[in-house]
Symmetry: C2
Amino acid sequence: MAAEDDQAVKVLGNKLSLYSFRVEWSLKLKGVDYEFIKEDLLNKSERLLHHNPVYKKIPVLIHNGKSIPESMIIVEYIDETWRHQPSLLPQDPYERAMARFWAKFVDEKCVPSIISVFCSVGEDQEKALKDAEETLKTLEKALKGKFFGGETMGFVDIAAAWLPYWIGVTDEILNLKLVDQESLPLLSVWFEEVVDVEIVKGCLPSRDELMAHLKSFRERSVAAKD
Amino acid sequence: MAAEDDQAVKVLGNKLSLYSFRVEWSLKLKGVDYEFIKEDLLNKSERLLHHNPVYKKIPVLIHNGKSIPESMIIVEYIDETWRHQPSLLPQDPYERAMARFWAKFVDEKCVPSIISVFCSVGEDQEKALKDAEETLKTLEKALKGKFFGGETMGFVDIAAAWLPYWIGVTDEILNLKLVDQESLPLLSVWFEEVVDVEIVKGCLPSRDELMAHLKSFRERSVAAKD
């Protein structure tokens, strides 16, 4: 019984975290069943501290009694553990390197630039908006087909597929249009394609729930700067 | 002739960059010949801008006419392109995930915490020092044998092997002893082992050169805060 439990796949996550989805999308793409354990973002559980003692953050994948933290590291683990198709990373070493490069770009450039737009006001926000547009234009260059992964979702799509839904909600809160067809023609199309993928849609939180979460996040962040 | 040139392995780097070594160490571990092209850290060449237009940073690996930026992405590319022994990453998916986790920890936690000690003064430095000690204690937990990779140098050793040499020089400049045998017994031993590896020693800059570079870096950083 204990051995059987050990082999179960569990995800410690939260539907309001952009990092948490990546694990769910990867498992769904591979057809791996898992148990989703919701973690409270503001009140960390003993279980989370036990499974990710270094960063104390979601997501964590638990498999074979071992814990793996950090979303994109988990995605690679899933690809290397369940080796059947679809491959999340391409086979060619150069293409693999480029997929890792753009996934890292999403985390190091896109995430902070969008947070910066969302958590600023006035002139600061105008500057942040220009930076974010440049960042998204750079990301767009990595789009070579319908998806970053070509004809199907791959590693970079998994890293970035939170963008359309998040930006849709932040646009509404800020009364903006960060990604339009004129300035980002390819990315605009990808925005529509990727949120229409069944497994992507199936994991997202409700628009109202995300709206309430992001409004509260913005209020706290703007207040902290005053 | 052009095709022959294309297959040549070239590294755009600088011996004073802690990221640049990682590429050289990996190629040397694999026994791959390469041409090292020195880039000026303060005056970026057209060549660098061409090969790494997104970040405009060293190191860049050029192979088969293609450019790969970002040091640890290059290390994975090297491991996947020249598949003979020694493997830089372990074979087991969980062990591979952990190696990636600790290499990321070096970049996201160790690098900024050591820069923070080095570029601060007074109370700020005392606080930074405590943080850096905690960070290094956490890193020490990943040491399972002689090296992070076990009995031989692996992925995490490649990510971290600049630490002993850098900390040795910064200790001298600041009159400190950041890593001592009492508080970090395993890491102290690794510090001695890893800089004694022939290929590690062979790539390092002279102590005088690194000393001059780091002194100037500290002066500029401290002045910028005033």
